[in-house]
Amino acid sequence: MITLGIDIGSLSTKSVLMENDEVVAFDVVLTGGTNRKAAETTFENVLAASGLTRGDVKFVVSTGYGRENLPFADKHVSEITCHGIGMHLRNPDIRTILEIGGQDSKAIRIDDGGRVEQFVMNDKCAAGCGRFLEVTARAMGIGLSELGEASALARNPLRISSTCAVFAETEIVSLVAVGTPVPDIVRAVHDSIAQRAVVLLRQVGISGPVGMSGGVALNSGVVRALEDKLQTSIYIVDNPQVRGAIGAAYIAQRLA
């Protein structure tokens, strides 16, 4: 039986087609201004990639911020639940998950069946999320995907305040203006994100290895900063940006 999980995030929309608990195809598009349109596009993309039609899809679970705005979804589930399941499917030993998405970050503790036991999220501000990295890259005139490599070249430790993304941007612009090397600034931004994430993780309680999902897990600079602070290696799940959609597709398999 074929199901669809679709994760409509603030920055990107992801879809996963699943058949008998196996991923058949997945796709990621930018959400842009209309999340419904992004959802339609990514749905069509996975259908095209798999050679299936809409009629083949028996159940659709939507997740992410735009989950309730999807007319073809049969059910919507929060991405916290979906990331918990999505991570558990890949690595059943993981009990603590860090998920940093476009506009929030979450620490999630799951039980041995992937069910959420406890979670905490960042509050009020985009500092500590993917949006913060976007702002940083823009302020320094480099690409989002270059941030990870750039921070590896950092030489001098710096500190950037982490209470507010807008104030932090002002700080970054000032550092750029006085000629601070870009890698040092990027490293400081990663440190500040990691610092906030560690606080969240400790609030839910770290037990066993920490798994990371969400698009920011692809940023090697953030992962390095986290590993430094936690003094342990972090399990980066494959395709971390579509873990929520995988969880959604799996829930759809159970509900169909």
């Binding site: 911020y65 589930v77 929060s78 991405e79 916290i80 639940t81 929030d104 069910r115 959420v116 036991e117 406890q118 979670f119 905490v120 999220m121 509050d123 009020k124």
Partner: protein
């Protein structure tokens, strides 16, 4: 101030209040109150509001959880500055009131439970008090606000200092203070305290409390739609000592008995901990679709205890001490109530600017962890809509509800 000036001022204040009441918020889909007790409460509230603006009314501003029995014993109407502004904010657009506070440079970081009454006074909407009464629990900010209100109107302000620990010395000390306060209140009207008035106020309070307590106990074993909220409203209104409150609590109890017989299906129970938005608030309506929301404050042990009619001041003192935000006592109370009401989840609501809630939140979270009760901490502003919007927190609320399924 002479009688004519007071009459003139209260007439203006009443007009201002009516103008404010004219600024209704758009009614929500679930606005119609289902319980007769809810409708009765509205009538009692309208009546006491109108009464307080009469030129010859004796009005005392009081703070939250002030022992109103001693106010009624003096033949005075208590005007709870905080709950009155919250009640009005539930249905009225009081943005203009908050704007006034900002124009007077009152920081927005102060909780809206305090900025609301400030704004109401600045807007000249509250009736001029004859005097002001307060106790220093649970909140210092509130104590300061109420002191300022006394200063604003140039009227006497009497305060009780409530010890935090509950022992015989503390009780003796507080009883002595209440006696002094009663004498001072009577002094405002050049009379002596009347023991008969005090006795009837205590009897009224106990009769109402007995119905209130029985309704709360029924809620332990039955799903009673609307009853938890009504208990909260009656607690917040704090009209114990007034005869009207007996009928109100009796009606609630009688409705609770009928509802208990109807055996509504049980759903997961979530305990709301912290200051609460109005019942038509989007968040509460959202929660109400999948869980039964109970409110902790009205179920506190201190709210269910009867006053000793032989030694009323001593038991008023004991209740006041029990109201103190003493972390150990609160934890014990929540632990017990969670078991009695079979609570499966806590929502710990931090009100914007409330240091008290933020300081005590970790105690509740660790209790939840120990009892394996699912919990969610949210930052909201139940009164000032400029500080919070439901979509900010909807995601985490949904995830929390999913953990209860």
């Amino acid at each position: 101030m002479d009688f004519d000036s007071i009459a003139q001022q209260r007439a203006t204040q009443y007009e201002n209040m009516l103008r404010l009441i004219g600024r209704q918020r758009a009614p929500s889909e679930d606005a119609a109150p289902a319980l007769a007790a809810t409708r009765m409460r509205s009538v009692v509230n309208c009546d006491r509001i109108a009464e307080a603006y009469r030129a010859d009314a004796k009005v005392a501003y009081v703070s939250e959880q002030f022992p109103t029995e001693i106010v009624f014993a003096a033949g005075v109407l208590p005007w709870n500055i905080e709950s009155m502004s919250n009640m009005l904010a539930q249905s009225l657009d009081i943005d203009q009131v908050f704007r006034l506070t900002q124009e007077r440079e009152l920081s927005r970081d102060i909780c809206s439970f305090l900025r609301g009454p400030f704004g109401m006074m600045l807007a000249e909407c509250y009736p001029r008090p004859d005097f002001v009464l307060t106790n220093d629990q649970p909140c210092e900010g509130l104590l300061k606000t109420i002191f300022m209100s006394g200063k604003r109107y140039g009227v006497p302000t009497f305060a009780l200092h409530t010890p935090n620990l509950l022992d015989q010395d503390a009780l003796d000390y507080l009883v002595q203070q209440i006696e002094i306060m009663l004498t001072r209140i009577a002094g405002v009207f050049q009379s002596d305290p009347d023991p008969e008035f005090l006795r009837s106020s205590i009897v009224n309070s106990n009769r109402a409390r007995e119905y209130y307590r029985k309704a709360a106990l029924l809620l332990e074993r039955h799903a009673l739609p609307g009853v938890a909220r009504e208990l909260l409203e009656i607690f917040g209104m704090n009209y114990f000592g007034a005869a009207e409150n007996i009928d109100l609590c009796k009606t609630l109890y009688e409705e609770a008995v009928v509802l208990a017989k109807a055996e509504a299906p049980t759903r997961p129970r979530v305990m709301w901990i912290g200051q609460t938005p109005g019942e038509s608030d989007e968040l509460l309506r959202h929660l109400g679709r999948s869980v039964d929301v109970l409110y902790w404050a009205p179920l506190w042990e201190a709210n269910l205890m009867a006053l000793d009619e032989e030694q009323p001041l001593r038991s008023i003192a004991e209740r006041a001490i029990r109201y103190h935000w003493n972390a150990e006592r609160m934890e014990r109370d929540l632990d017990h109530i969670s078991d009695a009401y079979q609570v499966e989840g806590y929502i710990i609501a931090n009100t914007w600017g409330c240091r008290n809630m933020m300081a005590i939140g970790p105690t509740f979270r660790s209790l939840a962890a120990r009892k394996r009760i699912k919990n969610l901490t949210i930052s909201i502003d139940p009164v000032d809509r400029n500080n919070y919007a439901f979509p900010h927190i909807k995601n985490r609320v949904d995830a929390f509800l999913e953990t209860l399924q």
